[in-house]
Symmetry: C2
Subunit: 338 residues, 2 copies
DNA sequence: ATGAAAGCGCTAACAT
DNA sequence: ATGTTAGCGCTTTCAT
């Protein structure tokens, strides 16, 4: 039944090197208490046989897999792939592996993936843009150390990775300071907390300045095409609109194109601001004003915090990490001329 | 020492359900030979205790981990993140997990990652854009089933996932048919086989039409910025150039911007074609003519082939999969006017 | 239809 | 500085 290619074991290495199995184990774990001559012999035997430590066996006895589980909403989105890269870079440096799932924003898939990862006994679990409910997450936290990206959770065991939604106020303040008073907001994925948080953030800014809350276009796909449709909807409903804040850059880029297609000049007639500062933001026409988010760093820091926490084994080392976002003003926003 | 949160075991489930450990095992593996009443009891106990099968323990005895290892060159690149998504979708459907590493195009990192994945006893290994030598790959194939994306390997055990480099001829033929005779090529990552294969493909087309081989700009970073610099270099060296084929869309987009910055009109003065058809290709100005590659499908099919192969356990089921690319003509290429 | 015993490859605790 | 023993949680014979 065993079809996995047969690999040499510690026992075979031990026999080949003429030592006990435990000595091999010591060498493999860089225990300093082995004579360097025996170490050499063992290492030689291991190399000769093509030996590789059996991680699952080790996991079984130590209870630690050195694997981090990562749940991501949509890898096709640059925002998430950058997070993955950040997580990767942090884990790899510590000898950890990343077991990853793309949930496609679907809570059922997400739950199935959590089960899969937990079965593999991941040491920690990073949930980014999770669609699960607080209570479900609490239950997951019973089984593994959990870090949430972009979302807060009341359970103190749950680590809070970077949250950046609040930074949307930078974009909204910017438009207000340029004199815009009729402002629209293009929303993100429906039922997503991040989307909700950003929309609220935008509303608060307008309210603080005594302006009417933004006209909100929501329910559109989070893509360039979705932004295109959303912008058309906004212009149909409120033709006097002059400022747009979008949930992310993709939507903003689509919005720019829709405005241009209807003969509006950006930013002369309409100002549009995005969120994320993805790579292409600087290369569309006009270059996009947006909120720059250190995405890679978000992934890196969160993974680091998670690993530190699992390794600290109870010792408190803080349970959240902060990141700084800033506004990048490019060519898609300008003073209000109407 | 065990800091991994304690999880219930089969033994505990067995005790709770008042059956033997083996019966629990049978239920967990959907063995039809258990009375449905006992099955219900066991399932109930499992749910109540929050039991989850211990995959590492199972791996230890079966020799199969139900994990696929995936090595990727650069997740920040949309091409690769799409491949990952394809692999994900295929594996998830079969109950497999994906253990992933980003190698950053670095052979040393790549080798370290291979060791990590092999330690975890992945059932199969997908190497995309590997920088390793044929012989190193042969040695890896001794330890696990290997599938290569975008590269051929003489060892029949090594699976050949989709190869699309040859499709670059579509872009080159297109420019030639538009009357371009002085053609430049912007190369991909140095020492990469994919880059070499595409450059050769481009050369062959020109040679077949009796044209001089392309002027090649290589060694530039594979990014928009790199394409920008490469294009400036090409225009400095050969101002009469009218057609450009780029290794990928990012480079092509950078090239367009460099040409425009120097006052050339695209496509009136210079035609530029890319490769990949990434999401943004249709949304730059002018929209990019490029070779469309079914990236997601490449990942999906390769993973499928790999899983089928490991599960077939020796039975021959073919060792490569094919994909079709096609040219998408947009606004960045036009007839030669010089 | 269900159970008992052995063992997968490794590390932990205790020798020596 | 090195070896012995037990056992991690599961599946695999082989019984019953």
């Amino acid at each position: 039944m065993s079809l996995g290619i047969k690999m040499p074991t510690m026992k075979e290495v031990a026999e080949c090197a003429g030592v006990s199995i435990k000595t091999v184990s010591r060498v493999m774990n860089s225990d300093p208490l082995v004579k360097s001559s025996t170490r050499e012999t063992v290492l030689g035997a291991a190399r000769q046989l093509g030996y590789r430590p059996n991680a699952p066996a080790r996991t079984l006895v130590t209870g630690r897999s050195k694997i981090i589980g990562l749940l991501i909403a949509d890898l096709g989105n640059y925002f998430f792939s950058e997070i993955v890269r950040g997580v990767q870079n942090a884990t790899e440096a510590q000898g950890y592996g990343v077991l990853m799932c793309d949930t496609g924003e679907n809570p059922d898939t997400e739950m199935r993936c959590v089960d899969l990862l937990l079965s593999h006994r991941v040491d920690g679990l990073i949930l980014s843009s999770s669609r699960l409910q607080d209570e479900q997450i609490t239950r997951i936290a019973d089984a593994a150390t959990v870090a949430l990206m972009n979302r807060f959770h009341p359970d103190p065991r749950v680590l809070t990775g970077a949250i950046q939604d609040e930074a949307v106020h930078l974009a909204a303040e910017h438009l207000v300071s340029l004199g815009h008073t009729t402002i629209g907001y293009i929303g993100g994925p429906i039922y997503s907390r991040a989307a909700w948080a950003r929309e609220e953030g935008c509303k608060h800014v307008l309210a603080r300045h005594g302006l009417e809350g933004p006209l909100v276009a929501s329910g559109f796909p989070v893509s360039i095409e979705g932004g295109y449709s959303a912008m058309n909807w906004l212009l149909d409903v409120r033709p006097t609109i002059t400022g747009i804040v979008a949930y992310n850059d993709m939507l903003a880029i689509g919005a720019i194109r829709a405005a241009q297609a209807r003969g509006y000049r950006v930013p002369d007639d309409i100002s549009i601001a995005g969120f994320d500062d993805i790579h292409f933001a600087a290369h569309v026409n006009p270059p996009l004003t947006t909120v720059s988010v250190p995405i890679h760093r978000m992934g890196f820091d969160t993974a680091q915090l998670l690993i530190d926490t699992t390794e600290a084994n109870g010792k408190a080392i803080g349970n959240r990490c902060r990141i700084e976002c800033h506004l990048v003003i490019r060519g898609s926003t300008g003073p209000c001329n109407r």
